[in-house]
């Protein structure tokens, strides 16, 4: 792990880091990844799942309903005429 990689990953994760943070995360992540390298010893594993138990597909009845009124959801947002304000897109 080097500082350039940490900068690149931070950019992908939408984080801006100070030089001090980059220094400290480079060291920490380097140590952690070194420790993770023990997984390279395991070459003969095949099976895997995305959940630890079987998860069945469950679909609700296709009936529109709204549990929470829109005004409550908008309560904590910055709004203008019921539109949520956001940053510039271009």
């Amino acid at each position: 792990m080097d500082k350039e990689t940490v900068r690149r990953v931070a950019m992908l994760a939408r984080l801006e880091l100070s030089e001090e943070e980059i220094e400290s995360f480079t060291k920490d992540l380097g140590e952690i990844l070194e420790h993770f390298s023990m997984l390279d010893e395991l070459q003969d594993l095949d099976d895997y799942g995305f959940n630890p138990v079987e998860v069945i597909d469950v679909l609700r009845d296709d009936e529109p309903h709204q549990e929470i009124p829109a005004e409550e959801l908008l309560r904590d947002m910055d709004t203008y005429e019921d539109y949520v304000r956001g940053p510039r897109l271009s």
Partner: protein, 441 residues
């Protein structure tokens, strides 16, 4: 519920111990069936919900989490929201933008994490039930450090609706209490299917309640323990044999050592995607300048409001999912999880439950925690990670004291076999003499 407990007493206690981030008005407490608290990553409509993060400052959700809703419907009164590591990222509850809970047995020591406030409340408030959440050990660890029972059910047993996600395939809502009978009585209220969380549907009902006839101790789990912890654990094992008639065997579980790196890869991969939703628009902290381009805006809000550990885990999880690295880290970690599950299944052919110490040391002092590196802290979870990674139900059982601080042992059962853990905990509670913290109310 007796009226001896008052909100003013809890507020006073909280000044000293910092277990609550937010305390309610206690309405309905007098005459209520029971009182409970919720870890601050469970949504509540009458309390802010911050998950210990500045990025959710002042966020007040418009709905209750399913577990909170069900306890309220059953006549429980929510006393407040308990302090925690930011989004559950920690082992000592010190990674919080707000309150850091202090250990009920020594205020200079950590409560453990990340449900540290929950464990502290369970230890200090008589008859209290604390809802906790565990991803990699966040119920067992603080329960061990604070000397209470900490129950983590099978993954999927309790609806995660209203839980602020850390790792979707790992998060489990459970309970902490000084008396295991409290958990056994109230846990069925929150267990079971909820269509708002599909992972909670389609599972078998709670298993038949019986004490395990045999338990296995993985030899890997007792290597290198400090003498005090080892002595306490060995004495407890003797008691299990002699006083409860449980047969004890030694097991080899070589995959355990790989569980810790696999866990951190899966947990941080999932966390880094879950935390992408915090961008300063829909809830919590907002940016100062909406005139910024959206990329700059989101980056500034996130950089300013996530704590150091949250940033570290976002970076780690983003890195391990990157093109070219995914198979080496993420896929391998999923394979290890499956291998750990299979290793447990092999063990459960020979024994009813697996027992280990819960933590490899007693609650550390805050200055000791400050001196630990990130990797040292991650390694401290090596005993609580295997059952969490594999979704197995487990219970921290207080089993002794070293230097006046509690020690815990962790009993693990097969998927969906929670009943035997709670039964064993209740039986143990009759034999074990708990030292009550002096400040208890």
């Amino acid at each position: 519920m007796s009226s001896a407990l008052s909100i003013s007493k809890i507020r006073e206690l909280n000044e000293e111990y910092g277990m609550f981030y937010s305390i309610g008005d206690g309405k309905g407490l007098d005459g209520s069936r029971f009182h409970f608290s919720a870890k601050d990553n469970l949504t509540t409509k009458d309390h802010p919900t911050t998950a210990g993060s500045k990025i959710l400052s002042n966020y007040r959700p418009p709905f209750d989490a399913a577990a909170v809703e069900r306890l309220r419907e059953a006549g429980g009164v929510l006393l407040g929201k308990t302090s925690m590591d930011e989004f559950g990222f920690g082992t000592f509850s010190v990674n919080s933008a707000f309150e850091v809970p202090r250990n009920p047995y020594d205020r200079d020591r950590s409560c453990g994490g990340s449900s540290g406030g929950a464990a502290c409340a369970a230890a200090l408030i008589d008859g209290h039930l604390a809802l906790g959440v565990s991803t990699g050990g966040s119920i067992s660890c603080p329960a061990a450090f604070c000397g209470v029972f900490g129950f983590t059910p099978t993954y999927g047993r309790v609806s995660r609706y209203g839980l602020l996600d850390y790792g979707n395939s790992l998060d489990k809502i459970g309970m902490l209490a000084a008396d295991c009978a409290t958990i056994a009585e109230l846990f069925p209220l929150i267990a079971g299917a909820d269509e708002r969380d599909p992972t909670s549907c389609g599972h078998p009902p709670m298993g038949e309640c019986r004490i395990p006839a045999s338990i296995g101790i993985p030899s890997e789990s007792i290597k290198g323990l400090p003498p005090g912890i080892r002595k306490s654990f060995d004495e407890a094992v003797t008691k299990l044999k002699d006083d409860m008639g449980i047969e004890v065997r030694t097991l080899e579980m070589p995959m355990f050592r790989y569980a810790q790196p696999a866990y951190y890869i899966i947990a941080t991969s999932e966390a880094s995607t879950n935390l992408a939703r915090y961008g300063g628009m829909r809830y919590g902290a907002r940016g100062k300048d909406l005139g910024l381009h959206f990329d700059r805006y989101f980056t500034s809000v996130r950089s300013e409001n996530f704590g150091a550990e949250a940033k570290r885990r976002i970076l780690l999880g983003t890195f391990t999912r990157m093109v070219g690295l995914r198979d080496r880290y993420y896929l391998r970690a999923l394979q290890v999880r499956q291998a750990v599950i299979e290793e447990y299944r092999r063990a459960f052919k020979d024994v009813d439950a697996v027992l280990t110490p819960t933590m490899p040391f007693i609650a550390p002092r805050f200055n000791e925690v400050a001196g630990m590196s990130a990797l040292e802290i991650y390694l401290a979870d090596h005993l609580t990670i295997p059952p969490n990674l594999s979704g197995m139900p487990h219970l921290n059982i207080p089993c002794g004291y070293v230097e006046g601080m509690p020690v815990g042992m962790q009993l693990v059962a097969d998927h969906w076999d929670e009943g035997c853990l709670l039964q064993a905990g209740m039986e143990w509670g009759k034999l074990f003499e708990r030292i009550r913290p002096e400040a208890m109310i």
